[in-house]
Subunit: 385 residues, 2 copies
């Protein structure tokens, strides 16, 4: 008998059964009232999750498409931007902007560290031509959180836009779009929003819309203006949206609302703590410190003598458990466990069990159950509160 799948990736994440079945509904016309009502409920639900009164636009694409749209809609060729890079996804955001002919100044931090706000201010102080700051809220490649709030303050002080890649954070880690003055926030459907990949959700502030009026980068499909105008006029999207994924997303957003955003964030924190404590108990080293640790993905250093591909394949073959590695300079150095969206305590315990067994089989000395125990203790203590 094959074990049931335990999908512990930083996206795509498991889709709740009710949402999967909602996606199997019969298709409807995208210009029909029923679809307008669907889209409106989704957008209102997203505003709750984004904690915003800004427009939230629904694009049919993956997260990368939304990041591209955030550049194409707010900037002109040759505009200067400051890109805060703490890992592979920060670098990707910078690369997209460069591909569009934007003048990108990269402020690189070591992989595994978070943004140093003082260095950001130095850069802004030194160059008043910077039109936008690009940042990654949750750097998936390293499992580091960067806090948008102080950067939002700087963006206001130095009058530039703050564009945030929140692909692997939104709905898993607190992001107060309006309170923290985030001008564009991009996320996608297959992460903490627990649906199929295919939708990208983007909040856009009035300041970003205003900047967009003079932004000359070419776009049509990505146009925020087209999306906003169509939604305002008719509660529609300019092109046919991914309707089946919208069905799923409506279901998930209802569930998030029922659970309450605060509880969703708390659940992610507990699960993160359980994973981190268990890894320490097993004797593995975490890539980043507790203080800057992501609440949706955890990077763990591979112990001496254990090869990533071998560990990964053993987890798949023996337990049907899926973890992942990292990219760039961390390739082969760490494994990563995604723990966002529809991930339960039982999933966490399954993963730790499988990991202990696989490591032991591969020759790493671990006392079976020690990581499990550490995680259980976290759950027990948190449940008693």
């Amino acid at each position: 008998m094959k074990e049931k799948r335990t999908l512990m990736l930083p996206g795509p994440t498991p889709i709740p059964k009710k949402a999967r079945l909602a996606g199997a509904e019969e298709i409807i016309g995208h210009r029909e009232l029923e679809c307008e009502e669907l889209l409106e409920e989704v957008v209102e639900g997203l505003k709750y999750v984004f904690q915003t009164k800004n427009d939230v636009l629904v694009l049919t694409c993956s997260g990368t498409g939304g990041l591209e749209a955030s550049i194409a809609n707010t900037l002109s060729k040759g505009d200067k931007v400051l890109s805060l890079c703490t890992g592979a996804f920060g670098e990707r955001y910078a690369t997209i902007a460069e591909n569009y002919g934007v003048n990108v100044e990269r402020l690189d931090f070591n992989w595994g560290e978070s943004i140093d706000i003082d260095l950001v201010e130095e850069k802004l102080e030194a160059d008043n031509k910077i039109k936008a700051i690009l940042m990654t809220h949750n750097e998936t490649s390293t499992g580091v959180i960067n806090h948008p709030k102080p950067i939002g303050k700087l963006a206001q002080k130095y009058d530039c836009l703050l564009l945030i890649d929140a692909v692997s954070s939104l709905a898993g880690i607190e992001l107060k779009t309006d309170e923290w003055a985030a001008d564009v926030v991009v996320t996608s459907s297959q992460k903490a929003l627990m649906t199929s990949p295919g939708l990208c959700l983007v909040s856009v502030s009035p300041k970003a819309l205003k900047a967009g009026e003079s932004a000359d980068l070419p776009k049509f499909y990505w146009s925020f203006k087209r999306a906003k105008d169509r939604y305002d006029a008719k509660k529609q999207t300019p092109s046919t949206p991914a309707i089946s994924t919208l069905y799923m997303l409506r279901e998930v957003l209802r569930e998030i609302k029922e659970e309450g955003l605060e509880n969703v964030f708390r659940r992610h924190k507990i699960v993160t703590k359980a994973i981190r404590e268990s890894m320490k108990a097993i004797g593995l080293k975490l890539l980043v410190s507790d203080k800057i640790a992501s609440k949706t993905v955890t990077a763990v250093k591979l112990p001496q003598g254990i090869e990533y591909n071998v560990l990964r394949q053993k987890l798949i073959d023996d337990y049907n458990v899926y973890i992942t590695g990292s990219k760039g300079q961390l390739k082969g150095q760490v494994f990563r466990i995604g723990h966002l969206g529809n991930v339960s305590r039982i999933d966490i315990l399954s993963t730790i069990s499988a990991l202990e067994l696989a490591l032991l089989k591969l020759g790493f000395e671990v006392e079976l159950g020690i990581g499990l125990q550490a995680a259980q203790k976290v759950f027990y203590e948190e449940e008693r509160r």
Copy 2:
């Protein structure tokens, strides 16, 4: 009791039940073997439908996104293209190119007419700077087919690229990509491919790839090179694809293969004939002649005294039957019936029944059953062959 829905739009089209349920499968990681096998089966199935040995790239977006990608990947700013416009979608293709700073010469034909090949040759003869021809295979707004074959010959003769919007034709109307020398062919998932919107499928010839090497329009998400390289190396997409829609598409492509492409096209022809004969029998006027009539969508002139919105709403309210109107200069002048993909003879007869009843109720004199009879005759004759 509410009638069951009869969705007769030129997309989105009804998704076969088996495909809808396939879309409800548990999600998998996009870098896992299982997803690579899924993508490879889809791409091979698409090559059969596209009738091509070219690369077929899978983008997560709607058809418009694929059209944008076809421009961004083959052209440079200021390049001259000839855009053949026979309706709203031809105009959209031209607009996308213009938004990218391409020098677009529009060759406009009257709405309801098809491309005049002699005029195309005149243009190409007169201007040797034309780098690409943009054409719409099936102009959805008017229900007209434009034949790519002679245009492909001209593209070869005058050494330019042929880019084809096949969004509402592919898998419903014959398109021999390789034989007719189509360099880029764009279609999307929610038309004759009968799945949820969210995927765009694009075939790219070696000539188009070659042109792409010097194309300087900005792109990242749309990059054919990134898509091709990733697929060639790993049978993956650069960004997370719409996995649930890929599940659906795999199912549909299996069904198309089982039915056989020739039979699929024949089915679309029969259904078209049935609709056209029934409309004539009812006493309605078709917008376009039989010779250039689309096999996936039919535009019918609204009779004197019948308002489009009233007719449409009556069909929805009384029979749960969905038809649509048209755009631009045809707005309010015609209604359109989509008949592509998973549309059965019973659906056609249901639609004709509802239409006869609605028209009679709205004061249009029609002998009940006369359109039905005409359609039945077509089916009867075709089935006896």
